[in-house]
């Protein structure tokens, strides 16, 4: 029995993979099958896990004289409200009363809109600001000592390139460009070291400065009230640089996760189905 079911699973798996070659009847079959199966699945799960225990049981069992079943610790009749709201969704099939269905939607959307605002403010704005500021203050930085020197030189070289070389030197002046970059990297880094020595908060972590510059740049990129020209345009460009590095990095980071899924399926075919490996 298990083998039959596993074989069905394996054949369906192969049908989906046939899509990689081209659209074909096997894929069409599998696609329509999965839509049907999941529709049936959600119908059953939603009914038995949500509606039945939370609406029907509290409402009807109590009326039959059974022991009262609480609705998340509330009076049973509270269960009627969502039940009625749920039914209201279906008024849309009767044009005359279709507008009543909006009540259900209004309760739902309004409630969640209100619910979402404050935690978003706290977790996504305030806490993130605080974390960023904390990093800048150098409170915690595991990479500070390891990558500081290398990164410092790179940062100052890039800044020198953007501010001096790109604007003022002609296309063919290679030697001048390199000299300016090297000199400003060294001078910039030296200046940074001096700053670190005179600051009373200890080492100012350069990697953490990256966090500030990056956040500033990205937020500027999403600033819609002014044209991106001049200094603002420069900051927005910095934002784009960070966004691109971020996108590349998370793309690369994701590859692993996607391969994991494929490994899971190959392991199913080779191990669970064909028993070729252990």
């Amino acid at each position: 029995m298990t083998f039959i079911w596993t074989t069905i699973g394996a054949l369906l798996t192969l049908s989906i993979y046939s899509f990689l070659y081209k659209d074909n009847p096997f894929y069409k079959f599998a696609e329509h099958l999965v839509v049907g199966v999941s529709a049936g699945y959600y119908l059953v799960i939603y009914y038995f896990n949500f509606i039945h225990p939370n609406v029907f049981s509290p409402v009807f069992l109590l009326r039959l004289g059974d022991e009262p079943i609480s609705f998340f610790g509330f009076h049973w009749w509270m269960a009627l409200i969502p039940g009625v709201l749920g039914i209201l969704l279906y008024t849309r099939f009767f044009p005359k009363v279709a507008w009543v269905g909006r009540y259900a939607l209004a309760v739902y959307v309004g409630g969640y809109a209100g619910l979402g605002i404050s935690p978003v403010m706290q977790a996504r704005v305030i806490e993130q600001l605080r974390a960023n500021a904390l990093s800048v203050a150098g409170v915690e930085d595991p990479f500070a000592t390891m990558t500081n020197v290398g990164l410092g030189v790179v940062i100052f070289a890039v800044v020198a390139y953007l501010l001096i070389v790109k604007r003022n030197l002609g296309a063919r002046n290679w030697l001048g460009k390199v000299a300016v970059i090297v000199v400003s990297a060294v001078v910039g880094y030296a200046g940074y070291l001096v700053l670190t020595l005179i600051s009373n908060a200890g080492v100012v972590s350069l990697t953490n400065i990256l966090l500030v510059v990056g956040l500033l740049g990205t937020l500027t990129y999403f600033f819609f009230s002014m044209k991106h020209t001049g200094a603002l345009g420069g900051l927005a460009r910095v934002g784009i640089v960070f966004l691109m590095v971020g996108f590349g990095a998370s793309f690369g980071y994701t590859v692993m996760s996607r391969i994991s899924l494929l490994i899971g399926r190959v392991s199913f075919l080779l191990h669970d189905w064909l028993h070729l490996i252990d």
Binding site: A30, A39, A133, F247, T254
Partner: protein
Amino acid sequence: MTMKLTAHLTLAVLFLAAPCAFAQDAAPDTTALPLDTVPPGSVSGLTAVDYVDNSDEGDRIEISWQASPDDGAGEGDVVSYQLWRSENAGADWDSLGVAGAGQTRYLDETATPGTEYHYGVAAYDGTSYSERVSAGPVVGRANLFQMTRLAVLVLMLVFFGMVLTFTKLAERGADLFVRRIPGLNAIEEAVGRATEMGRPVLYVPGIGEIDNIMTIASLTILSHVAKITARYETPLIVPTARAVVMSAAEEVVKEAYAEEGKPDSYNPDNIRYLSDAQFAFAGAVNGIMLREKPAANLYLGAFWAESLLLAETGFEAGAIQVAGTAMVSQLPFFVTACDFTLMGEELYAASAYLSREPKLLGGLKGSDWMKVLSIALMALGVILYYVNQESGFVAWFFTQ
């Protein structure tokens, strides 16, 4: 949180230690060990305050203190702290509980709301108690405001104030500049090309539920897109993964067709619920792309892993693709596989921008200035940190 656990453990330790103490008492003069007759140093800085939790019934009082000098230092022999409670201004002490050594906080969860209490704490070293320090009176109440969230409230109100001010300004006809969002025109171009080719437009509003703000932003954009397709009589296919979103999309599209005076061109079979299951949905949308051959694919809303499945299949099918989402993890895929991508806030901005309704622009301007304020706050925090680490603002900003 670990408080109670530690209290239990301490009790267990005391329980186990009791027989040993007893044995020692039974043979007082045969051992060379002198009995510890020096009581430990008492605690200091005792405070008792009404504890505010998320469902506050006024039955919790938080007691905190600074450790006895003999706890972990000095003689180092403190094993626990004994707590007492009194309803009678420091007389009639009732034993309340025990906190382990090293603990400096205890949560009394048995207070009667509205009753005045005094609390007493003494360190215990296994044989004797330190002097009892007391604090009070304190009254437990079901509070009406969570003080720790004051900052959230203030910033939120500031933000709302900005949004509403700009909305009012817009309504009065003030000229609010909002720069063009790159990629926004792409939506109209894509629909235009589909019309030229005589092929349908596919609009995927994501797989978020209707409570997801991205889905709502997407429905606003859908209304705009539907008006264009209605004008050109280009079929518009809207596959959805949530039943409520489907019914909302039906309303939006039907409405748009009616507004353009083409109610008969609206085809209810094109607004489809496919599946709540994420990949069943993705598989079915892929099928639509290959078989009904839309010339423009618009993915706007909340997307998860299906983003690249859709975008790669759409690319292979040769459609113009415009995406927009605030799902950070999916942006890299849309950016690499689509022709244009509205990133993060641009999705919300787009819905305001497209409608050209002045009222909606207020939100956009408010968000913009909130960003400036956020950066200023962060800068202030950092600068003050370097100037004076002890200042009140720094303490507030960096803790909690």
